[in-house]
Symmetry: C2
Subunit: 232 residues, 2 copies
Amino acid sequence: MGEDMTEVRIIPVVGVPDVRPGDDLPAQVVTAVGNENLQDGDVLVIAQKVVSKAEGRLVSGTDRLAAARSESARILRRSGDMIISETRHGFVCANAGVDESNVEGEHVALLPLDPDLSARRIRERIRHLTGVEVGVVVSDTFGRAWRLGQTNVAVGVAGMDCFVDYRGTFDAYGKELVATRICAADEIAGAAELVMGKTKRICAAIVRGANVRPGRSSARDVVRPIDEDLFR
Amino acid sequence: MGEDMTEVRIIPVVGVPDVRPGDDLPAQVVTAVGNENLQDGDVLVIAQKVVSKAEGRLVSGTDRLAAARSESARILRRSGDMIISETRHGFVCANAGVDESNVEGEHVALLPLDPDLSARRIRERIRHLTGVEVGVVVSDTFGRAWRLGQTNVAVGVAGMDCFVDYRGTFDAYGKELVATRICAADEIAGAAELVMGKTKRICAAIVRGANVRPGRSSARDVVRPIDEDLFR
């Protein structure tokens, strides 16, 4: 979507109100951004937490671990009061993505039932409201194997290719690149985190100028098939 | 280093010449950027490949696997002609970070002996040349467990805190955040990849406005200690 040699801008979306079940989240985002400030090819990154809230994916009670177990397709490891599990979507993360931060009162938020569908609906609604074609990334904060700290990654994607695939292309010296396929969707989710933070009520960002292609891939395409996964 | 609510810019550094052993890489970057275009608080992200070239970390011959073995402290998995190993720095990645892409002729590039030291030297040299205090991230392209595709991560860091640590702070609803510590250095490395690519000879980018603090942490601080790592 961007052009070579141009910079990428990561623009925080400020002013989305507290999101409640049933809210028209894309309309809230469009109002906050301002109709005229969205451009074809922008990628809207939106935090899973507000998508889950708008979809009513909240459960009351403080037993996060019970909710995490119930949201897990498979438990991979346990560590203290945390589990690392595979969600029904195939994502491997802590507590099946269930958590209570930035959720009001005694509730925990679950991941959307189908975050790719959530992303597609947000994209369609924004097109309906503004006529603008954006890519959408629903992002969540995941830990990683081998490295400390978390980064934001894509759990739902619409209107863009998750990957920039260099396999079969040639580097600056004419050597064929045989293995390089960048997960741009995850890099975009992480880039957006740099302006979203955790304590500022900024639940969305626009990434403008990133070198991603329009496409139909989904965040489930990022899930490494179990039989190709050497670390489980 | 940035302020709340402001956007983050990812600016490609265009015009760094082909880097050769012994080159003054920071001076090449400063010339390409233009002295007046660096600002205090910018993070300069620079590809490991050019750092390795400038440091002469090239070996001739096409036996990448032998070089990868020799660069490994520990081999974790094998898959075809690839190994996944732990480097002497502690990083877990394919082929101990040894690869031949974007290297001239029949050579492969190894990771710098001490990429944090490389980052500190680049930072000091830039300060000497320009008077500007930048953070430096030396980035490389790593695969991940569980997720397909690679992302750029930090293998060397200087002049900034790798993490934005929310533990003990409070979310928008006053709930204490108990586990969230974002690895901003990796998110910044990934964000920079969005403008660097693999085939355009753009080996560096400036990330401006990211919410990172000055600090003395190093990329080795991102390595998860073996006894805390559940996925080996």
